[in-house]
């Protein structure tokens, strides 16, 4: 809630931009809301995007907590998605309970590997994690494009996508959540994502491991002196980060479509950075901000049809403005001006001698 004012300010600025194009901001807002909540199908799609964004947001924030910047969530979810599809198409004979467990294990492992590479290189070779994760994004995009175009192209489709994997590998037939939203892609992994966020909250607040991880992020040398190995936690946090990002791949492959489509992720990994930053890395805040981001993402998809001048890229402008607003809020909080929602007044905070709040 600390950044609520910043959020409103960002949204306000973004909507003011549409005035330049001669559209009414209220009308745009109405389209955004109608498109994301209008029908059960639309709302299901919003929740589907939200699921992926919770996973990638958690992934990025877990790395942030220990002082690392993981811009590779995109690559991690991509890699785990292609690994799961390759696994399921290579061993189609596995029967039900085992098959689902195995494919989830493959997903988790592949995400963990794609997180461990930058983690190990950072800890033992000193390679900067931003470069390595960025490069791995390109590598995983190349690998998936190789498999889809050379090995796994779906013969029944013109689009670059894999064949659909067997039902035993998917959750569709016992998915209660999907039944509530007919035809829409929201699935069981929505619940998993919420649980993951709650689990991460308890991990960081109630466990020694989580506390040590934060200690490494806050002050690595002090942590070293308290006999917390920062190397170990660099690896652990990036592996955890990779595992969390792989959830977004499972949401698509196991939960919804059962296939790998090139471009299935509209840069969830990068939107996850925005989600993590907006919520100041608080796991429960990530749920709320993932919801907000998915509303904008889904809502903007109808702008192409409904308006003359505004395209669906408008969602990016809203995201940018909201990020700026949330960033500004930090400044306002720090230097004394706060906006209390309930009192409705600007208040000056008392500053101590060093000028900090």
């Amino acid at each position: 809630m600390k950044s609520f004012f910043g959020f409103l300010f960002g949204l306000f600025c973004a909507l003011m931009i549409v005035l330049l194009a001669g559209e009414s901001p209220l009308y745009i807002l109405e389209i955004l809301v109608r498109s994301s909540f209008g029908s059960k199908y639309d709302f299901g799609l919003t929740l589907f995007y939200m699921t992926s964004l919770i996973f990638t947001g958690l992934s990025v924030s877990t790395a942030f907590k220990s002082g690392l910047f993981n811009i590779g969530a995109e690559g991690q979810l991509n890699f785990s998605a292609i690994c799961m599809v390759v696994f399921a198409t290579s061993y189609p004979g596995i029967t039900f309970p085992g098959s689902l467990l195995m494919i989830l294990l493959v997903g988790i492992l592949s995400g963990a590997i794609w997180g461990a590479i930058p983690g190990l290189l950072k800890a033992y070779r000193g390679s900067h994690e931003v470069i390595v994760t960025m490069m791995l994004n390109f590598v995983s995009a190349g690998i998936s494009s190789y498999f889809i175009s050379q090995k796994l192209q779906n013969p029944d489709s013109q689009n670059p996508e894999s064949p659909i994997i067997g039902d035993a590998f998917r959750t569709n037939f016992f998915d209660f959540l999907n039944k509530l939203f007919p035809e829409s892609p929201v699935n069981l992994f929505f619940v998993v994502a919420i649980l993951a966020a709650v689990a991460m909250y308890f991990f960081f607040t109630k466990t020694a491991l989580g506390y040590e991880m934060i200690a490494v992020g806050e002050n690595p040398s002090a942590a070293e002196r308290a006999s917390i190995s920062s190397k170990k936690f660099v690896v652990i946090s990036l592996v955890l980060s990779g595992v969390l990002a792989s959830g977004a791949g499972m949401n698509e492959v196991v939960g919804y479509s059962g296939q790998y489509k090139i471009g299935f992720s509209p840069e969830f990994g990068f939107m996850g950075i925005a989600v993590a930053l907006m919520s100041n890395n608080h796991p429960l805040g990530i749920i709320a901000n993932a919801f907000i981001m998915s509303v904008f993402h889904k809502g903007a998809s109808d702008l192409d049809i409904e308006t003359e001048t505004i395209t669906k890229d408008f969602s990016k402008i809203i995201q940018a403005m909201v990020l700026f607003g949330v960033g500004l809020q930090y400044y306002l909080n720090k230097y004394g001006v706060t906006f209390s929602f309930f009192n409705g007044f600007f208040k000056k905070k008392k500053l101590n001698s060093s000028g900090r709040v």
């Binding site: 931009i17 330049l20 194009a21 910047f69 811009i71 590479i117 290189l121 070779r125 000193g126 390679s127 900067h128 931003v130 470069i131 390595v132 960025m134 490069m135 791995l136 994004n137 390109f138 590598v139 190349g142 690998i143 494009s145 190789y146 175009s149 050379q150 990068f270 950075i273 925005a274 930053l277 001048t309 505004i310 395209t311 890229d313 408008f314 969602s315 990016k316 402008i317 809203i318 995201q319 940018a320 403005m321 990020l323 700026f324 949330v326 960033g327 500004l328 930090y330 400044y331 720090k334 230097y335």
Partner: protein
């Protein structure tokens, strides 16, 4: 390697071509990061430059004017970034990420407005396209920045702003002023990188044409350890791999055609290996990203 002659003139020229945008962007990032401002927004500045360069070249029928206007537009866009980061102390990673999003969203909005198209600008005539003078200029920029950083008073100020800002304040120089100027130059130079993409490597702006080059420039910068000349080398390394993957596509080697995708990921894998094997720890400016 059969038909591919690495040392032929045409190969070297193609390396220079593809590394030109990277050289501009990496030197731009260097200026900003040297002054202590983390620069994730290079991608956004490049997009802004690619777009404004193409638009102004189309409107004025002169690529040189387009190129110049790209610098102006990028530098102006940097005011927004500096306002947030330098003046209002927003986290630079938040602002940079937001800035990239903003450019991705704003440009289709503007093309719809100006050209009523879905994201591309009309192509400029082929004879108007820029040529290798852009590359020469890029190398001149590298030398200029090398001179600026290590030989001039302003350069020392920039380095101090990144290494020990309190010391700079103690000398009576405003840290914020130094950062405003470096981010201003950074925006303009990164935009030139974008403009060389739309006016030299191709002849129009197409959506998302930077394709992650801003981040690759950032990698080259880290690979070059925040020093102008090694950063130039980093850019050329990426350029060699990029040119190589264009050459190797569909060429059989001993009767075996390497899948295109393997060649495309080659530069990225090699970067990871190079970084892990030979370069070791990077030395970032001490005060980078701290407030």
């Amino acid at each position: 390697m059969g038909e591919i002659d690495i040392f032929s003139l045409s190969f070297i020229l193609s390396v220079l071509r593809v590394s030109t945008p990277l050289i501009f962007a990496a030197q731009a990032g260097l200026l900003s990061e040297k002054s202590g401002v983390v620069q994730i927004g290079l991608e956004g500045f490049m997009l802004a430059g690619a777009f404004s360069g193409a638009v102004f070249a189309h409107l004025t029928h002169s690529s040189y004017l387009g190129f110049l206007m790209a610098f102006v537009c990028g530098a102006c866009a940097s005011f927004l970034f500096s306002l947030l980061v330098v003046r209002l102390k927003t986290d630079a990673i938040v602002a940079g990420t937001g800035f990239n999003f903003l450019m991705v969203g704003l440009i289709p909005f503007l093309t719809k407005f100006i050209f009523n198209s879905t994201g591309s600008t009309p192509p400029i005539p082929i004879e108007l396209r820029l040529s290798y003078e852009v590359t020469v200029f890029a190398f001149a920029v590298v030398l200029g920045i090398y001179f600026l950083i290590s030989k001039t008073r302003w350069g020392y100020w920039i380095q101090f702003a990144g290494e020990y800002p309190d010391g700079l304040t103690a000398c009576g120089v405003s840290v914020d002023k130094v950062r405003w100027v470096s981010v201003f130059l950074c925006g303009g130079l990164a935009a030139l990188g974008g403009a060389s993409l739309s006016l030299f490597l191709s002849s129009a702006y197409s959506p998302l044409m930077t394709g992650g080059r801003g981040f690759i420039a950032l990698s080259a910068l880290i690979l070059g350890k925040w020093k102008p000349l090694p950063t130039l080398m980093g850019c050329l390394v990426f350029g060699v791999f990029d040119a190589l993957q264009i050459r190797l596509q569909g060429v059989p080697i001993n009767g075996f055609t390497i899948p295109v995708q393997w060649i495309q990921i080659l530069p990225y894998v090699l970067t990871i290996v190079l970084l892990a094997g030979f370069f070791g720890r990077s030395q970032a400016p001490a005060y980078l990203g701290k407030r």
